[in-house]
Symmetry: C2
Subunit: 172 residues, 2 copies
Amino acid sequence: MTTRWLTPEEQRAWRAYVAGYLLLEDAIDRQLQQEAGMPHLYYSILANLSESPERRLRMTDLAESLKITRSRLTYAVTRLEKDALLRREDCRWDKRGSVAVLTEEGMAMLERLAPGHVETVRAGLFDRLTPEQVGQLEEIFTQVVGGFQDDGEALPEELPWRRRSSGCSGSP
Amino acid sequence: MTTRWLTPEEQRAWRAYVAGYLLLEDAIDRQLQQEAGMPHLYYSILANLSESPERRLRMTDLAESLKITRSRLTYAVTRLEKDALLRREDCRWDKRGSVAVLTEEGMAMLERLAPGHVETVRAGLFDRLTPEQVGQLEEIFTQVVGGFQDDGEALPEELPWRRRSSGCSGSP
DNA sequence: GGGTCTTGGTTCAAGTTTGAAACAAACCTA
DNA sequence: TAGGTTTGTTTCAAACTTGAACCAAGACCC
């Protein structure tokens, strides 16, 4: 089959989108870099941990939830651990595994950074959108994310009862 | 003033958006990397040049149009030049300037890559959206981009008649 | 003309990302 | 239970990005 090129509408949308996310990411990265010497992803790691039960998550689950590679996560976590914002612990039920745990310092850092970060996200995005557009944005990207889930796993949750829970909770 | 946190709707939209663009960028990068050993940005540089008059653009204009730093562009252009996909020429009207010019090889490469690239963008994004959503996406990100224009330049086009054209066209 | 400021572009070191390869533990199967 | 496969994670080198510092060359100003 011959290529289905983008329609003019799609082209315009694509260009706007690419320009927009570059500007937005840039603004966010710059803000966090200034405030804490840390890029957006690293903030997201801390934020993600802070919302998990006991503020801990297995590496693979964290990577999956953040949509990044394990290797990328390893590097980031090593750095954050060096900064004492989180620590690694061995998973007691699976000796291969390791879990990242947010430290008190990490939590404090997050609380310090959150207002400025939110402000940047607002200024760059939400303050420019109507409530309807916020809904549209969610809908659009939920569909996008959903699309990739299907691709990756062929049959999502093929064997639900075998899915290991992220596990490794409970204090040491 | 106390922080205006994100509403639940905004939070959901933000999460979906961040996850979505990571997956999308990843898919696009991976596809181009496989096909041509080149990340998305490098493809965009070639594409951008191919659409300019005489397939040439000044570095600064190119950087601005792509929303990236000059330094990042310098690095990318150096690499692409090494691959003979474009070449640098001196700007004759401004001895500081240099222009990137798409070569025949570059154009050929672009034509080879375009179908697969479009297919990836379609599969990841447009095939999952209704025509209305395409319009919404454009609207949303056009507003986002617009927002940043204002920030950067205070008064956009403050002195329109002084705006230098990208210039440096015409064959050597 | 000779400062001074701005603009266009590159360079450099430090930090990050990538994908493939390496490892080790866990799981399976005969 | 030994051998083979899968899974969880790290390591490594190569590529890319970042921001600050730098070097011209234009522009402005007296």
